[in-house]
């Protein structure tokens, strides 16, 4: 993020707050892409970085998403102070590989952050993600200070009317959402849509005001350009934090899709749950944020 975009978004947010007409202050949408070869790619049977190499290749390579000079946000789940094999957070090897692909594609800057639940410094460190980001040449930004968040309106939100979004998201040209496949005590499963709770400040409001509704509202408002569901390790119970590695299964799989609802529907099935039983997936599909009718989608399945 440079100073100009900062001032621009800052002015936008200020003006939005003052004028109450925020449409022009909304974050820049991703540039229109030529249509992708597949609606969804599912890969299984290899290490996280290899899964991603093959998956992104099938989608036409990272250049289909990241243009030269683009500012990229890679948003993994770094919510918990647990180690990678506990599957509480996105696999650091995947995060690293995604950043490398973005930089290869000519990204000017790749930033990673999460508004963590546990103490953020411990989460960043013990998840292995901080190190992975540094090794890959990305920037790791803190997400646990309200000063980074700016108010954005959701004019079409049914329950969620406004949120405070992290400035890195506001300034990003490309948003790559990288959840990990987990059981979740609040939302049943946590996948791509749920993972976006980590880019806003006040999550308590979501919990107190129809959680599923809020998750669907936010997904309609801010669709990532690419969703990568990390199912290398999947958390089968006691989610989202997990209690021990007994709760984890190594599925060695990955799902990639530009359609956040499709990614979540496929993730749910992979985990062993019908997508329509996860209310926010059903709501988002109903509102055409994306599609959960997987049998009608053009899916590439890769076994390694």
């Amino acid at each position: 993020m440079n100073r100009r975009t900062f001032v621009r978004t800052g002015l936008g947010a200020t003006a939005a707050a003052v004028l109450g007409r925020p449409s022009w202050a909304l974050p820049p949408m991703a540039p229109d892409r030529p249509s992708l070869p597949y609606d969804l790619v599912a890969v299984r049977g290899a290490e996280p970085d290899v899964l991603f190499d093959r998956g992104i290749e099938a989608l036409g390579g990272m250049r289909a998403f990241v243009r030269k000079g683009a500012r990229v946000l890679v948003k993994p789940n770094i919510g918990w102070d647990v180690t990678p094999e506990r599957a509480g957070n996105t696999n650091p090897r995947l995060v690293r590989r995604i950043i490398e692909h973005c930089l290869d594609a000519g990204a000017r800057e790749v930033t990673v952050f999460d508004h963590t639940c546990d103490n953020w410094q411990r989460c960043y460190r013990n998840s292995g993600i901080e190190q992975a980001v540094k090794d890959a040449g990305g920037v790791i930004a803190p997400g646990n200070s309200e000063s980074y968040y700016q108010e954005v309106a959701l004019p079409r939100g049914k329950s969620l009317r406004d949120v405070k979004e992290h400035e890195v998201l506001l300034a990003a040209d490309v948003f790559i959402n990288v959840p990990v496949l987990k059981h979740h005590s609040s939302s049943r499963l946590t996948l791509a849509m749920k993972n976006m709770m980590g880019v806003v400040w006040d999550r308590g409001f979501w919990h107190a005001n129809d959680l599923h509704r809020c998750i669907a509202d936010y997904a309609a408002h801010r669709k990532p350009d690419l969703n990568v569901v990390d199912a290398y390790y999947a958390l089968k119970r006691n989610g989202p934090r997990g209690v021990s590695t007994d709760d984890v299964v190594a599925m060695k799989s990955q799902i990639l899709s530009a359609d956040i609802v499709a990614a979540d529907a496929a993730g749910a099935k992979l985990w062993g749950m019908a997508p329509e039983d996860v209310r926010h997936i059903a709501l988002a599909a109903e509102e055409k944020t994306g599609r959960m009718d997987l049998d009608r989608l053009n899916i590439k399945r890769i076994a390694l």
Partner: protein, 516 residues
Amino acid sequence: MGLGDLKGLRVAAAVVFTAAAAAVFLDPGGWAVTALARPLTSLQFVPALLKAVTVAGIWTAGAVFVLLLTLLFGRVYCSTLCPLGVLQDVVIRLRRRFGRRVRYRYERPPYAVHYGLLYVIVAAFLAGSVWLLDLVEPFSNFGRVLAVLARPPLAALVNGGSYLLGTAGIYALSPVQMHPLVWGAVAGALLFLALVSLLAWHRGRLFCNLLCPTGALLGLAARFSLFRIVIDEHTCLDCGLCERVCKASCIDSTAKRVDMAACVGCFNCLDACPTVGMAYTLSRRGKSGTPPAPVRRGRRRVLAAFAAPLLAGGLAGSDSAARVAAGGVSKRPVTPPGAGGERRFTSACTACHLCVSACPTRVLAPTFLEYGAAGVFQPRMDFHHSYCNYDCTACTAVCPTGALLPLTQDQKKEVQIGTSVFVKDDCIVVAKKTDCGACSEHCPTKAVQMVPYEKKLLIPELDNDLCVGCGACEHACPTKPRKAIYVEANVLHGRARRPAGTTAAPKTDVPEEFPF
């Protein structure tokens, strides 16, 4: 050894120890506290002494060392190892630079008040309270001044810098989390700082010979110290310079006597003496010590008469403390892991706030009267602001008095500082008929599980055997203003069952086919 060297040595030692002490309390990254807290605090006399008592006599090394040091060299502790002593020296130096010139004059130290106070403090301690001790103990007060007064503005500075750098896309400077100010604690620290600064500005090291319990205790030993400051009658010019520069007002230049019980070992007098009339040397005790006014019987009775009601008042305060009992909040303050329980904790914690500074989640918070008047300023767990990290043992590792006993990660996971209480009617799931589960989500042991409720909703269910009282559920609960789930303090810490589970590598189960 040359005379100038002694003062130089004293100043150098003071700078090193005080800088380390300040770093321990202020370092926003938390490195200093991890690296330095233990060696530094093991040499803090009263905390080390308390630890010798609380940890059943194993950790006496630091206290014994300080005692031996004093028996050898007098109260050099007060000018080097004691950060509050050095803080007073800074004020004294400021006065020398900016204020009207001060000339100290010999005064018979106010032994009656000083040792009377020590008597009351010891009596209170034997009765199971650190009442009064925590108000005057130098290390703890130094800690509170830094933790409560200096740390927040420093954090604001760091956060401001971090924010500005962030606008340029540089995130190298991490923002630091702060607990909201506790105004009673702020007022207390301010009051103390004002008192000590005023005393230092006008009367030098009077605090050390009037209120300081460490000064009183070490004074007893210093009286018999081997090395002493003596005035040589033959070479002394009767110029009185030594008396004029004596911050502790313990040199009677007319009588040519130095009261080693009150001397804080700054060696300014040696520096000031124009001849070789003063020496710091192995000495027979003859001239240099003023025998302390022995506490006479009659006075003792008077003191006892004073102490008893004061003591009673102080202790009663802990029971009659005003507590919010409206629900949604613990009736008693939640004590940190390693405390054992409220009584044990409050009888040994001098509220130095080292644990508060070391706590990475900022769940440990200063208090004012939450524990009652006898436990003023002793820290508590504030789950409205944050929660205790399941894998963290930082506070237990740094406590200098043993009020918090060291715990390993495994031990800590079995300590139950409180248990969860679920107020069903206040829960989002019941009140709004929508999914929530924030409590269960944050629970590290799944003592809070979500179980089927009406329709397809899930509702929290407690298994308090598994609860460690970390407060994650209370912190995450989104209901306002009352929390629908909260931690009720265990006045006596209990034992939590470890959740089942191994650390073996996850089992592999790659799907044969994708189910879509």
